[in-house]
Subunit: 423 residues, 2 copies
């Protein structure tokens, strides 16, 4: 632990950079690189990202299929039919489920068909059961007319052979699994989950399973950041706690950079640890540190760097600050490395009335934890103004509100967007 | 495959039940039952639900800790200090990180301390580095006064020994992992993920890896429903495809009920398969079928039942209908069985302008797939009016809009809530 020559948080001599500009620069520095491709069985593709477009090998459903229970007909045989003047049709047979019917409908004929059944040759529409009356074992009346194609899914209406099923860069959801299964796609190519090396630093930090001596602190950041990595779609690699010794920090970071897609080191809370971390990150090689110091609260002493092709993020030591910066700057990298758009809400967003004035500084983005309550039928977002060293206030929060750079604060009663935590 | 005696969708002779009433009845029928408890390592608790409240064993952080870099002081020694009239303090030493300091501050003394450092005995506040000037190796000037407790986290400010860390029934998020790690909780008791048996039925259905003959259809529902189960926090058990034979369906359902926490069978698309499924569900024993037929589009021919203590849901065969009913009625059960509130948005909700008129029937809930586009700076939700047998329209959708029971439709230009799919 040593003291920096300069001011209190070690970044006074750096010009702080607006979050949006820093993010744009950091994401651009990735140069469009993506993680590699791996093939996984269908069910394991859930929540993964398609490596490229997936095309249908066959028409879907592959045959003209009834969407109702009723009678396959030639539509023109029903034209003009109504309750008072049914069109009479001869029953030529019944379509069996799961088989190509051997019936060929001739003029004036119909065939029983169930939902999902294959239309027999000659039929071009289905008359619903409730619009028919059976007059004799082999005769029925159509009580209304049907148009060609009515109550039918065409053989290629869900997908055409060679046509698109899913685009590349698509986060696969449950309904996508359904379409892929229907199309016979049982394995698919997805992007490897970005491997995120997670390190903590500081002589005072001990692992959670260890009873800390007086003055020591258990490592909260590694676990919070590993969890946030999983939530963002990455694969965390916990590399433990670094002591405040340059050689150890430098060696650990070099090793992390060579194996991970992204390195996240929370810099210890003291300026000495932070300076040491910054020096070790700078020592990883070109292009080096891109941004040191962000116009954001909490999270000002953040470092964004690129070691060769590997992004490295030096996060503040305070757990709340580290998690805020993770959401603003690390999650977008994890998404970008898989080919997803960097920005997408991680959970519900709710519009509520701000419960009290929030002071901020112009040019600085403030991220404020809030609870949400109902008051006389209105939703009210109440700021939780705890210190950023207190995890309990984040745990108590229902979500967060941002005070944009352009504002010097928000007034009680203003409508704000609350980013809710999933629950 | 047989035809029912009655109308087209097999539920005409049942009175359709409003979705909200059906859901309330179905959830109440669970009688507050929860899945069992299992202990998992900290990282694996992410996304799981706490089985009970978790208390702190120790105070957190466990010692009075500095939140800034500066000087530990006795606050009263700084009272009245200002730039033009500093308070002079004698430097008694430096607090080492990760150790209990052996310094005891006497009147007029200060000790160097870094963020995260433990306050020495006698100190009750920290003066920030930037509010001090070092005058001599062992003398400094305080350029402003600090209040008792300023820049300090009290020894029990994040948690008190014996006090609450997390409540029971809490979905564990990344920040919760941080607090638990800080408190030394490395294993915790969570609810077992509900096991959801997933079955498809219908003679026409074949597994996705099989090339369907003409008239056959690959099983999309099993995979879509398994994915939706994972998204909802459950553990899917794929039990395959049931033929249209009562004995086989009844035996498979009996076996599923005895091993799973919840059974979901998509009933085939034809009325014959549906009738057979309904009969087999009814045959599982008391209390039996609670609801048969819902006032919803799509998804009317839904069955809600309880076989002994196991909820059983008969879903429509059309994949879009099956997934809509899953979100409305199955996801709430999976959540309830873990002790979560049944309702919580699964993703972002966005307010947009409806792009065209939507017709509906009074008394019926309509769930309509939409895409969202930007038009002259406004968000517009455009209904995708595809057949519920078409998965491609669900895959193309950005989310869905509900037309409530009380409305006979929505007008173009109305503001609607779009439930977005995560992406």
């Amino acid at each position: 632990m040593q003291f920096a020559a300069g001011g209190g948080d070690g970044v006074d001599f750096f010009q702080v950079v607006p979050v949006e500009a820093a993010r744009t620069q950091f994401l651009a520095s990735l140069g469009g690189r993506l993680t590699g491709v791996e093939e996984v069985p269908l069910l394991q593709a859930l929540g993964r990202v398609t490596a490229g477009p997936i095309s249908a090998l066959f028409d879907l459903p592959g045959f003209d299929r009834s969407t109702v229970d009723g009678f396959a007909v030639r539509a023109r045989d029903t034209f003009g039919a109504q309750e008072s003047l049914p069109a009479y049709l001869r029953l030529a047979g019944e379509v069996q489920m799961g088989r190509a019917p051997d019936i060929v409908l001739k003029a004036g004929e119909a065939a029983r068909i169930a939902t999902g059944g294959m239309l027999p040759a000659g039929a071009d529409a289905v008359l619903m059961l409730e619009h028919s009356e059976v007059l004799a074992p082999d005769e029925l009346g159509a009580l209304r007319s049907v148009a060609p194609g009515e109550n039918v899914i065409r053989r290629d209406e869900d997908a055409q052979a060679g046509g698109p099923l899913l685009p590349g860069g698509r986060l696969v959801r449950s309904h996508d699994l359904g379409l892929l299964a229907a199309a016979g796609v049982t394995r698919l190519a997805v992007r490897r989950r970005p491997r995120v090396a997670v390190l903590s630093s500081g002589d005072e930090v001990v692992p959670p399973e260890q009873q800390p001596a007086m003055g020591q602190t258990r490592d909260a950041n590694s676990y919070a950041l590993a969890g946030a990595t999983v939530e963002a779609g990455g694969e965390p690699i916990l590399l433990g706690i670094l002591p405040d010794r340059y050689d150890d920090v430098a060696a650990a970071l070099r090793s992390a950079v060579s194996t991970a897609d992204l390195v996240v080191v929370s810099g210890g809370s003291s300026v000495g640890t932070r300076d040491l971390t910054a020096k070790a990150i700078a020592g990883l090689g070109q292009p080096g540190i891109l941004v040191h110091g962000l116009a954001v609260k909490p999270g000002k002493p953040t470092i964004l760097a690129l070691a060769g092709q590997t992004p490295v993020v030096g996060l503040p030591g305070h757990p709340v600050s580290a998690l805020v910066i993770f959401q603003l700057l690390v999650r977008p990298v994890i998404r970008t490395l898989q080919g997803l758009h960097p920005d997408a809400p991680a959970g519900p967003i709710l519009t509520a009335e701000l419960g009290r004035n929030l002071a901020s500084a112009a040019g600085r983005l403030d991220v404020v934890r809030v609870t949400v309550r109902t008051e006389a039928g209105r939703l009210v977002a109440e700021p939780l103004l705890g210190k950023s060293g207190l995890l309990s206030t984040l745990v108590q929060a229902d979500g967060w509100v941002e005070v944009p750079e352009a504002r010097e604060g928000l007034r009680a009663g203003e409508m704000v967007q609350v980013h809710l935590f999933l629950r």
